[in-house]
Symmetry: D2
Subunit: 345 residues, 4 copies
């Protein structure tokens, strides 16, 4: 299969997630980049929206329709929430559809309704192969829901501890994200003048839509209900999430036990890496890489396990995970076209 | 008294805290800037270290000795930890000594020994006038310990809730700081190339020396022991701390009760301000201002009160608080020479 | 007069220039802040647009009409270009109108037409007191045109050398600006995600509208025509302009002659300062200050004088200059309410 | 040859240039990473200095000696200036030695002496294949001098215009660089607190050591002497150079002629790209890419050609050029292991 080339379309090519997918596809040896589609930017060239993708500068953005997307082996959907479901329903069943939006992530209709509203569009295989049992569902899948960026950082940080029964299921997540996590959205608070030199929170008090996705993943790991208090912050950087995830540690648990649980969970993973003792992750270390780095600490005085994870929200947090899923869906080596080392300094 | 001028020395004038004190003193109507001292930079001009303070460019840095500092009405000590105690002991009792270091903040010798080591140098009136009972001890004081920057952000954020019995005394603090909080320290991880575009944690697991100071303040507010899990992060900005401080909310407590407690605590404070509902603080809004802005939320699903506070680590977090203490010590209006509005955008 | 209070309105209070004027007015001892007006944001509170100006949070933005602005001693106009002229024409002649827009800066109708188009609205006294003869026209003036930010950085950098005949009148300006210079404009290239970590040019080849304003100022200094090649760049910071301004140095001119010319021009100026030899300006050193710092060098091998100037585009480049003009117009000490030291680090 | 693997050593692996070379080598299919050496960090692991290169975390830094470097097919030297010459002289003649330092860039002993001092170490084939005649000298070469970062940005920007006789040989270069260009050097002005939110110049007036290298390249293109006025600026970003390079345009030359000259020079180059009309380069568009993007404009009023180029100082400006040279030296396809698209946003 290694000589085969797959034809790939990207819907939402003018946005940040679409741009990141294209950046990675330009370095993928088994992919031919087909249709690029948009919504309000139809007719523009890609250079109007993604100047860094200069080898594709003259590509014209087409409308996001079934007709345009048909005839590709793989279709990436990098669309605003709520647009994927109807579109995917009309694409052939044998087309690999990889949705970077939220439409098909949640399995619980009640959670969907509470955080998104409207009818639950159902769930697809969840594109986080590092969770127990997930990889098997992704091999050969034809519909895949790529996880949210914050849930990637938070879920992989605490799932092993919950699965091993090392902590109580009361998780506190405080995570700082680069501004690209908010998309290429023309809102005043996302202007460079506003964000440089400044940090600010948003969605405080359980309002962020990524909260139920964390609960779903961590609840599955714990084998029972988990509470998640999630506070996101906007940080003065373009890319990256640094998540501090903590929970009450159970009596007698020491850091060696914790490390053993994480080594067991991730020791063979190509993209999730527990750092050596004494080293802590940074977002620079994973910039543009499909890697999540993490470290653990037990605070005995406060009685908590603290896990800190770093991920690039656009790479392992979205576009890189999407390409990882493409590899699994098509039976390619899982690491094809994906770097593991960040652009630092 | 408003016509009087006080002669002020700054020890540690080459560093960030010293520079911030001088920036504020240049706009203070009742101050004459006297001796500026340093350690390894003795003989340099101030322009060598603080190019923004160009009106003082030709001032020569003197050695940090009792002889040089004597003869001033006020002496600010902006020295590395451990240097203030011996020096202050030799200064006249009537000199106002305002210490920006940690030497005299902790009242508990055991906490001192655990986090700093060596003999406990004793404690001085604590320069956070917004804590209950603190202002009275600062009026006319001749020795003042300026609080740490993180403890300012965290203590003022959660003290009212603990004092009012609205939360359990198990506090989780996750706070991002600008790099100036680490001082003008020539360490590789503080280079611009390393910090721009990157976030990273440090001192995870209860290791940061500001932890016992938070415990002291919050324990006093709660009237009993408090656990504090504190995770600091280095953020890609020069100034500012954004602290997310949370605790389990007690049954039946709603956000109106919480707001009432904070309004009662801070309604008359010139420098601590609870924002209107729906608004959240940012560090840009307090850049260079002696102001702490905060907001509260109750997450019912997770059962937690979340308070987010923003402060400039160098201003309200150090140099501004120091000048506020000078005003209190000298009987000047508390707001003299201190702005409340940040430099934004 | 020092006890008098003037009532001041700000038209365009939701934007960056308006916000900067308000930040400075909050610290001005002889000003009462009256009407705040806007256009598309009428009815919003100031907190919706200027969260750092929290003491004015509840002020409601009114419509920008003559009726609302009448009855103030001073009216600041911080409006998009082309909106000031008609409005000012209807305000009473005795009202001090200080226009931060471009409408009344250019004296040459042909230059106006080429760069702005439409009928030339005429010119007002030009608010750069440091140019020869300018201050006298500003004292007691009732209509003042505040200079553009780039022209401030470039004109004050090269005017003394041209006036003294030290260089040929062929000036090359390359200047980097913080993003606030582009206003609070919802354009994709101004998003934080785009500007952080990136520099880019714009208006290359003489297209920027500030070019004729530089030519006007520098031509007046030279006493004859001057060519200006101007290349602006967007830099990853909120505030500040760093301008590199060079011209062919005339034979035999050495750096001592150059320094003498600049000392003569600016030695008594409170807000323009030639640094000591060997020191170079930075934008941080003037952040939020109404100060322009500059330094000169003669490159004998290349035969050029190079002057580098730093200014905060929003302060000395706009809002600070506007308040400086208010002081001159009202007969107040020119430095009232204006700091000279930047917020660094 | 495509199946062959070459053993490569990196001297100076703890610095930014060494780290960038290693980042690229990790993705190079024909390379095996051998000895990593350092100076003051001997005995440390690579994780102590390059945390983003986590797959090499446990590699121990060895001393930079001939013994350690011998036995490799390729040796990269990423050392402070002045250290390469003696070391290279002792390495076998058949070893490919690629020097990222300045020792062997200048052909003119007088220029060497004026800017570096001491005896001229001689010159090696110059690793800028895009200059006329350069590529042929690099194929199969065993000693290569990698160009400086600023000279890369400036020389490729103006060489075609000079070669085609479109401009006078009086070049003005004003270039902003990210802080990594200054190396991992523990100097106060490189601290994050100092550089974030700030721009500043340095080496003004022809003092920067990259000036003679620009003169050498541009003089060769012009076929005669060229003056270069070079002003570098430190910009608040980790990576990237944006260079504005201008010269007096000769009478009658229009932009179409200019574009034709650049298309002819670079039309077949994989790593140098003239953008379509109306598009301008940014450093984000080339972050981490071995690409130089440029655009041209003719300012008729000012009589100048302005060329703006963007390059990543660590990639096409150093480490990427070094790997490009490795490919040429070893007879591999020139683009092996090198991406052309920047990490944006």
């Amino acid at each position: 299969m290694s000589e085969q080339t797959f034809r790939v379309a990207v819907a939402g090519a003018s946005g940040y997630a679409g741009g990141e997918i294209l950046r990675l596809l330009l370095g993928h040896p088994h992919v031919e980049i087909g249709a690029l589609t948009a919504h309000s930017s139809v007719g523009d060239t890609l250079a109007d929206h993604q100047p860094h993708l200069w080898p594709l500068a003259d590509r014209v953005l087409q409308d996001t329709t079934v007709e345009v997307l048909a005839g590709h082996d793989v279709v990436f959907l990098a669309l605003p929430h709520g647009h994927s479901h109807a579109l995917a329903a009309q694409l052939p069943a044998e087309t690999v559809v990889i949705d970077c939006g939220a439409d098909h992530r949640l399995t619980d209709p009640a959670a969907w309704e509470r955080f998104y509203g409207g009818e639950h569009p159902g769930s697809w295989p969840y594109g986080m192969p590092e969770l127990p049992g997930a990889r098997e569902q992704l091999r050969g899948a034809r519909r895949i829901a790529v996880p949210g960026c914050y849930p990637t950082a938070a879920s992989l940080a605490m799932a092993p501890a919950l699965a091993a029964g090392l902590v109580d299921p009361e998780v506190v997540v405080v995570a700082a994200s680069g501004t690209s996590g908010a998309g290429k959205s023309l809102k005043p608070h996302l202007l460079g003048s506003e964000v440089m030199g400044s940090m600010s929170p948003y969605g405080v008090g359980g309002l962020h839509r990524h909260t139920p996705e964390m609960q779903q993943n961590l609840g599955a790991a714990a084998g029972g209900p988990v509470t998640v208090s999630f506070t996101p912050m906007l940080a003065p950087m373009s890319r990256g999430i640094l998540a501090t995830v903590s929970a009450p540690v159970r009596p007698g648990v020491d850091v060696a036990q914790v490390r053993a649980a994480y080594e067991k969970a991730y020791g063979d993973e190509p993209f999730v890496h527990l750092l050596a003792e004494g080293r802590w992750p940074s977002t620079a270390a994973v910039a543009g890489a499909n890697t999540l780095l993490l470290q653990v600490a037990v605070d005995e005085a406060a009685g908590r396990l603290i896990v800190v994870s770093a991920v690039d929200n656009l790479t392992k947090g979205t576009g890189g995970a999407a390409v990882q899923c493409l590899n699994l869906a098509l039976g390619l080596p899982e690491t094809t076209g994906l770097g593991t080392v960040g652009l630092a300094p």
